[in-house]
């Protein structure tokens, strides 16, 4: 097993990753490195492959060529990664657009399930962590409720706490605010902002350009499955080099 030799070794390394879906070439020669503590925001039109890209990192999508290394564990094409994939999923948290909370479990049970079953923590230990995390995202008084008794914004914050309970080294966010009513977007972004400030490594797919500009260390623009441009937010938003980036931003920033 390879471990990071120093703090600057990338936590994610994608090399020449290609994914096809039937005749559709979804990801084209993706090269991407993410350093520990870095916040990377991926933007692009819907269907450009940005969600697919981050779903490849924790093996929810297979890819056909190239390789992906996450914290020293290597994913191989065609989903044949076995133990490495299991390790990666244990170390990588994910927040989904549709929250995907477990509706049959209470908020607290949602959060403690994986720490107990995967990490083997005692119920008491898992509950202590869960209560701390729920307090942090402002949901502590709702721990006994079921997800459907919460607002969308609250559900997404529980989903964040649930992912954090596994003490991940990397967090993936797949359009975390796209399914939310406008008045609830802020509370979720605030929780993510705080997480970024604490130094969590994050890869975020989002349409929230203001948030991207504020929080990102680097913004990646994906066009038709390719990384068209990547740069610090000031550069991407104020002086994009690529014509495709410019026209995409002109469209989304217009309103």
């Amino acid at each position: 097993m390879t471990q990071n030799e120093n703090a600057t070794a990338p936590i994610v390394r994608m090399e020449q990753v290609n994914k096809h879906f039937g005749s559709l070439h979804v990801l084209k020669d993706i090269d991407l490195e993410v350093a520990p503590g870095e916040v990377v925001v991926i933007i692009g039109a819907s269907g450009s492959g940005k969600s697919t890209l981050i779903r490849c990192i924790n093996g929810l999508e297979e890819f056909q060529e190239g390789h992906i290394e996450v914290d020293g564990n290597e994913l191989t094409p065609h989903g044949k990664s076995g133990q490495a994939l299991q390790k990666i999923r244990t170390e990588v948290g994910m927040v989904f657009q549709q929250f995907n909370l477990f509706p049959h479990l209470s908020v607290l049970d949602n959060v403690i399930l994986a720490p107990m079953k995967v990490r083997g923590w005692s119920r008491a230990d898992a509950m202590e962590t869960a209560e701390r995390l729920l307090a942090r995202v402002g949901i502590s008084d709702q721990a006994a409720k079921h997800p459907n008794q919460l607002s969308g914004g609250q559900q997404q914050r529980v989903a964040l706490a649930r992912a954090l309970a596994m003490e991940p080294r990397l967090m993936l966010f797949d359009e975390p605010t796209s399914a939310l009513d406008p008045e609830m977007i802020g509370e979720v972004l605030d929780a993510m902002r705080e997480l970024a400030r604490e130094g969590m490594t994050m890869i975020i797919v989002t349409h929230e350009m203001g948030f991207a500009r504020e929080v990102a260390d680097r913004v990646i623009y994906i066009h038709q499955g390719e990384i068209a441009e990547q740069a610090p937010p000031e550069q991407i938003f104020d002086r994009p080099c690529d014509e495709r980036t410019r026209s995409f931003l002109a469209r989304v920033l217009k309103h």
């Binding site: 924790n58 929810l60 999923r89 990588v92 989904f96 399930l113 994986a114 995967v118």
Partner: protein, 223 residues
Amino acid sequence: MEVTFQFDWAAAFRSIPHLLPGIPWTLLISFGGLAIGFIIGIVFGLMRISPSRLIRWPAVVYVEVFRGTPILVQVLFIFYGLPQLLGSPINALTAGIAAIAVNSGAYISEVVRGGVQSIERGQREASLSLGLSRTQAFRYVIWPQAFRRMIPPLGNQGIISIKDTSLFSVIGVGELVRQGQIYIATTFTALEVYFMVALMYLAITWSLSLLLRQLEKRGLVGQ
């Protein structure tokens, strides 16, 4: 015009003690068969959603065969046909339970398959993303939700199977209809007796309906 025949309530009530012995048989065949059918249903239902064709195929064949043939033919085959093959007789109770088991098993497979497949893909993805294995994801996340959705169609199948046992009077097992036939043979009160028999089925199926409604009410909290 004169009414030429009166419903004889006294005869109807007189038949009750002669019919009651059929109830335990009806219940034993129904619930014995359904219990085995439930196990068959889980096994074949899960086989049907396996990614491997080799596993999927036997389940498909099973469901098609036992859903596509009448239960009366199935029980006649088991009771009269199988002994020729095995060289030893099968008693009527065993044949009845077996027929309910294989028949309800086919329908329950479909219920199980539908229940599991109705759970949104995001539930599995969220489980896997947390590091749960596929088995853990199924056990702790998918199955508990699927099972709740399966309760109404399972109840439906239970009621159908209880009524199906009435067909087993043909192999001479002493269930409700058979008890009625025996009693009618000496009293010729078909109208009253079959009316009481029907009422007894209704009492059984209606109790089951009420029980299921309670279960559903409790199970659906927090869905």
